[in-house]
């Protein structure tokens, strides 16, 4: 079976900063071999005295391997589920199923790629970094964060060489017009075989406006994560038509150009 539930052992579980936590698991199967960058798992967050998360939580893989049974996550402690997840201790057990969804396209023949990330988007795109580094593909990264303390550049690159442009809310450099200018500048100087983005609708729509071609990883509320329940739809422009696609199985990675604005709720 391609998708199975696994009882994984927590090997390491540490705070990266005040809001993000790093989780390393030992899986009972060689999941790393089956998982590609951009895919995700459904995590069963443990029940606690005050939190009883019912649904699974989707989390992109942040690290794949190097051992076959090693999978890593990097996540934002945000609500009921992640607060419960956060309390797992090394030696404890996490149930999860996956890998799920379609990952990013990547070719070792490429010369250079551009990664545009904000917040958790960084976790989703992180597995592309070692892939590129190993293949000698050049990496340019534009990382956006609230403040320097939130950037997680180290966690993103994990030692790989890259040209990094960091922008912050705290100094105004992350404002859309300033990022646009920065991006134009970068695009003038470098040619990219592929552009990826994740973590910010604002950045995504900016890149769309700038007619940058590439891939974006999206999020949506999920129940089944296998294409069955139709809860996770988003709207796309495909061949002049608007169509609904399921983020869990037709994504979470989609061509940047196709992503359509969404009916905002409320």
């Amino acid at each position: 079976m391609k998708v199975e539930s696994h009882s994984c052992e927590v090997l390491q579980h540490d705070w990266v900063n005040a809001r993000y936590k790093y989780l390393r698991l030992r899986c009972p199967a060689p999941l790393a071999r089956a998982t590609v960058a951009g895919q995700f798992f459904q995590l069963a967050c443990p029940h606690g005295e005050t939190e009883q998360p019912f649904l699974r939580r989707p989390m992109s893989v942040y690290g794949i391997g190097p051992q076959d049974e090693r999978i890593e996550f990097l996540y934002h402690v945000k609500g009921v589920g992640t607060r419960a997840l956060e309390r797992l201790r090394p030696g404890g057990t996490l149930e999860m199923f996956g890998p799920l969804g379609r990952g990013f396209r990547f070719s070792p023949q490429w010369q250079r790629i551009l990664l545009v990330a904000r917040g958790v988007g960084l976790a989703t795109m992180a597995p592309l970094v070692p892939l590129a580094a190993r293949a000698g593909v050049g990496i340019t990264a534009l990382l956006s964060a609230r403040a320097p303390s939130d950037l997680m550049q180290e966690e993103f690159l994990r030692g790989a060489p890259a040209q990094v442009h960091a922008v912050y809310d705290s100094d105004g450099s992350s404002a859309v017009d300033r990022v646009e200018a920065l991006l134009r500048d970068v695009l003038l100087r470098q040619r990219f075989d592929m552009v990826y983005t994740c973590g910010s609708n604002r950045l995504l729509f900016l890149m769309q406006k700038m007619q940058m071609r590439g891939e974006a990883a999206l999020e949506q509320q999920m129940a089944c994560a296998m294409g069955v329940c139709l809860s996770c739809v988003r709207l796309f422009n495909e061949g002049g038509e608007k169509v609904f696609r399921r983020v869990c199985c037709e994504g979470p990675v989609f061509p940047i150009a196709t992503v359509s604005g969404e009916v905002q709720f409320g």
């Binding site: 539930s5 019912f54 199923f97 129940a223 296998m226 069955v228 609904f244 709720f265």
Partner: protein, 316 residues
């Protein structure tokens, strides 16, 4: 090894476990061998195509979830041409779920689905999301009868009537469906419900209200299965809150001939196979030779109230 076969009218299922409509599609072949299932039940299809409800379409609740998917559908033709063929190699019988806006449309939908490869039609006369405030055919005995009657006229396939639990007296609706010729009852669809985020003050679903499913509702549905089983002669298919084989046994004991598994598959896509294996183990452990022995076999002590009242007369 126990005999897990059960009969739903003329249909013989190799075991009593099948998916609940809307909680299954062929994508699950990635997680389980579909041929192991007792039957396959598909997402409800409407005659015309629809886009469904605004997102968010799901949220979680204590021991359950709400959904307001709202029957997005590409129509029946699409189903016959694009969906049904996926299952042609699967040994489990295919049950096509239909939903429609009028009794007549239900009838026509059944005619369209009277096609090779479809073993039975499940009539979703209960979806709480379609009409304002969740009103549906199965909220009225008369409307239930009319819909079933229209369907029976247009097809010779077995019709399973899927009831709504949002009623005062489910037994009355069950009898109306049986009277109109329903071949089986599915008890039941989701409960109309609502959740509000206290931080944002907004409903958690784009559609404001949605259907509650999952373990939270099991005691409610088990009660309804019990009531329906006593009220009709046709088989009752239990549907609500089943996660483990023991939950399935609870439904069978209450009077279900077979069970449908919905929400549990979202927590573990292989849940149905786990349940089938668990039923085999349960039968082994309890010396049950044929699982059909369990149907309605809840052991109720008829003398208990008497004995209790006798006590009462003695006590102050």
């Amino acid at each position: 090894m126990a005999d897990l076969r059960v009969n739903i009218g003329t249909l013989i299922l190799k075991n009593p476990v099948m998916p609940a409509s809307g909680c299954f599609a062929y994508e699950y072949e990635q997680a389980l061998d579909l041929s192991r299932l007792g039957a396959l039940v598909t997402k409800s299809v409407t005659p015309k195509s629809r886009i469904g409800n605004p997102v968010p379409r799901v949220c979680e609740t204590p021991a359950g979830m709400l959904n307001s998917i709202g029957l997005p559908s590409h129509g029946q033709r699409y189903f016959l041409e694009e969906i049904a063929p996926h299952y042609s190699a699967v040994s489990a019988p295919l049950v096509a779920s239909v939903s429609a806006d009028t009794a007549e449309e239900f009838g026509m939908a059944c005619e369209v689905f009277s096609a090779p490869g479809i073993a039975a039609i499940e009539a979703n006369i209960s979806c709480p999301n379609l009409e304002a405030d969740g009103r549906a055919f199965a909220m009225s005995a008369t409307d239930t009868h009319a819909a079933l009657h229209a369907m029976k006229k247009r097809t010779r396939l077995p019709i399973w009537a899927k009831l709504t639990p949002n009623v005062t007296d489910i037994a009355e609706i069950a009898r109306a469906a049986e009277d109109a010729g329903a071949d089986a009852l599915v008890v039941a669809n989701t409960f109309l419900a609502m959740a509000i985020d206290p931080e944002t003050r907004k409903p958690r679903l784009g559609n404001v209200m949605g259907g509650l499913s999952g373990p939270a509702v099991r005691p409610l549905i088990v009660r309804m299965v019990f009531q329906c089983h006593r009220a009709v002669k046709i088989p009752v298919i239990g549907c609500g809150g089943i996660v483990t084989a023991e939950d399935a046994v609870e439904h069978l004991l209450a009077g279900a001939t077979a069970v449908q598994v919905g929400t549990a598959s979202f927590l573990d896509p292989a849940a149905m196979v786990r349940i089938i294996e668990g039923l085999e183990a349960y039968c082994g452990r309890h010396g049950v030779a044929r699982i059909a022995e369990l149907i309605g076999a809840v052991s109720i002590d008829p003398g208990i109230t008497d004995r209790w009242l006798r006590l009462a007369q003695q006590s102050g």
